[in-house]
Symmetry: C2
Subunit: 132 residues, 2 copies
C-alpha cells in the first residue's frame, strides 16, 4: 500500500541550469544535492510542496542516466512512491507478478531504503518505492 | 509558487487493465473516470495517498495521447503542480520566459482550471498547473 507520490525523477542535461529553472519558475527549493560516482549520477532534490522533483544528471555517458539521455533525451524518468514497509511492498509486488529491478531494498541517495520495479511491469513507468 | 505535485500523467494503451494494475499492485483507489470525445481522451484518476496518478488513454489514434503512444509508447506523460492562483502562476511563467501551451486557464477533466507549459521550456517535461 503506497502512501503517496514521494518524488518524480527527471533526467536533465545540465544540473545547475535545471536547479535554477525550478527555483525561479516555480519558487521551489533545493533540498540537497549528491554525487555518486559509482552510479555515474549527480542528483538534486527540489522541494515543490508535497512531493519532490529529483533532477538526475549523468557524470559519464555510459551511466544509466547518460544512456537514458542519449536514447530518450531529457525529461520524465521515474515516479517514486512512499511506503511504510518497503519489504512488504516488495513482497506484494513480487506476489502480484511485477518484475523487480531490486530484489532487496538498498540505500538510496535520499538516505532512505529504496527499490525499483521494472517499467515493463508497469506500463512503461520506471517505479521506485522509498521507505518513509 | 507551486504547492506540491498534484498528479502525474501516464499514457496507457488499455485503461481498464491499467486501473486494475494500480489498484492491485499499489492498493490505490480509482477516484473518477471521464471521457472527452473532443480531445479524444479517456482518463482515470487514481488516488495514491498524497498526489494522484492520471491514467490517460486515447479514444482515437490521431488524438494527442494517441500520437504520444505511437511515438513514445506507454509511460510517463506529464507532471501537474497545484497552484493557489493559476492566473498568477501563468503570469510568472510568462514573465520568466516559459512557453505556454495555454495562454489562459481552461477547464480540465478534474473540474478545476488548468494550463499547460510547453515541455521545451522545462527540459522536456510537459508541465501542468492545476488551480487548487
Amino acid at each position: 500500500m503506497v502512501t503517496g507520490i514521494h518524488h518524480v525523477g527527471v533526467a536533465v542535461t545540465d544540473l545547475d541550469e535545471s536547479i535554477q529553472l525550478y527555483r525561479s519558475a516555480f519558487g521551489a527549493e533545493l533540498v540537497h544535492r549528491v554525487r555518486n560516482e559509482t552510479d555515474g549520477i549527480e542528483a538534486a532534490f527540489i522541494h515543490t510542496g508535497s512531493g519532490e522533483i529529483e533532477l538526475l544528471s549523468a557524470t559519464s555517458p555510459d551511466s544509466p542516466i547518460g544512456k537514458f539521455l542519449a536514447k530518450r533525451g531529457p525529461g520524465l524518468h521515474h515516479v517514486a512512491y512512499g511506503v511504510t514497509d518497503i519489504a512488504q511492498a516488495l513482497a506484494d509486488a513480487r506476489a502480484f507478478g511485477l518484475e523487480l529491478i531490486d530484489d532487496e531494498p538498498r540505500m538510496g541517495m535520499h538516505g532512505s531504503l529504496i527499490a525499483f520495479v521494472h517499467p515493463k511491469s508497469l506500463g512503461g513507468v520506471l517505479t521506485e518505492f522509498v521507505a518513509i
